[in-house]
Symmetry: C2
Subunit: 207 residues, 2 copies
DNA sequence: ACAATTTAATAGGGATCCCTATTTTAATGG
DNA sequence: CCATTAAAATAGGGATCCCTATTAAATTGT
């Protein structure tokens, strides 16, 4: 019998690289080393397996990223670490590039609308997490009262999605972090230098 | 006989909405009102049709956007208009949401690697266009000499890709433009207000 | 060790994938 | 008006899609 978590890990990796439509049940059963009936008795259907693989993958990253974001570091620095962690996730050498969720099912066949709604809801949830953290900062006086936290969250959401896309196109970790450094100059109240960002250090940032 | 441009327009719309893998040749022939042999004699193959539909669509937008970007407006203002035009393209009411290229083939089956390379090259080309414009500005003293134009171009490229993703998820035009306004505060030398951006006007910006 | 039950493997059904050989229809030329 | 060429429609080939009914193997209980 197949270990459930091992199967989900294998499935997640395939879906991550090839997307929902680009991954066949034959790919999945072959990679897991099982026969088709086992896939269906264990996971229900291809769509249900995708849902479980997404949950499984997200659960692994969420605890660490939530800790970063909800820590009592200054929000600007917490956000920096949060984005850097995502950049690291986008460029793991032994994993597919990009984010499994950010770039999933944006274009899709009509018959896969429910799958697309699922990934869209996950993206929206991660934006709402950012917004909630920004709202807390407004309440605590760390951000100006007039801050448009919704748009600010969607702005960094766009950065996250753009990083994933560029990682899929081959961008390296250092590039994504330089990109983050620019995005961070848009932080309310920050005043960016007008002299390139190539002198910033990413590996041993100290707080 | 089928008019070639009409066919490409119909094909582009389908590929735009459903992606390469999510669009079948049956969808295409049905939408064009032709039989399969006509598709293959006119366009060669599904992949070749996709390539031609991309070229066809890009050609339509490129002239206008190139004019905006290469105009002799201050670069900051030209870039604003350029991004606004893309936001408009992402949210046309009678067209699929998002950008046909930005969100295309990021995840794909192994057999469609050549298609993914094609769309990645198009995305890279549009980033290089931005970078070239930024380099020109450096040469003309409009941007500081030390500006990291490559990363700056990829930053706005990420914004463009993020906008497309969020448009696919239902974002409206006004939201994308508020998002652009935040991205523009990252422009070298700019100093953003710390008071939300909700008071900005988008429809009658004067230069 | 034999029977009962559970697990795995095979085989395949019905639909759709991309593409094309063949036939039918239409248009053109003498 | 008939012969020739060109266009469109049908029909289908070989592969793959997601999923499952059935058969074979392994495990369990007595």
């Amino acid at each position: 019998m197949l270990d459930r978590d091992v199967g989900l890990d294998i499935a997640a990796r395939l879906f991550w690289e090839r997307g929902y439509e680009g991954t066949s049940t034959a790919d999945l059963t072959k990679a897991m080393g099982i026969n088709p009936p086992t896939l269906y008795s264990t996971f229900g259907s291809k769509e249900e397996l995708y849902r479980q693989a997404l949950d499984f993958s997200i659960a692994r990253e969420n605890s660490r990223r939530s800790e970063i974001l909800q820590s009592n570091l200054p929000l600007y620095e917490a956000l920096s670490l949060y984005l850097y962690d995502i950049a690291d996730g986008d460029t793991q050498p032994d994993k597919p590039p990009g984010c499994m969720v950010s770039t999933a099912a944006l274009q899709h066949a009509e018959e896969n609308t429910s799958v697309a709604r699922m990934t869209a809801a996950l993206r929206e949830a991660s934006i709402q997490t950012l917004k909630a953290r920004f709202d807390r900062a407004v309440g605590e006086g760390e951000l100006p009262t007039a801050t448009d936290t919704d748009t600010l969250a969607r702005f960094y959401g766009a950065i996250i999605q753009g990083m994933s896309a560029q990682a899929c196109d081959g961008a390296c970790n250092a590039l994504l972090k330089r990109l983050i450094d620019i995005a961070l100059t848009a932080w309310p109240g920050k005043r960016q230098t007008s002299t390139g960002n190539s002198d910033k250090r990413h590996l041993d940032q100290s707080f």
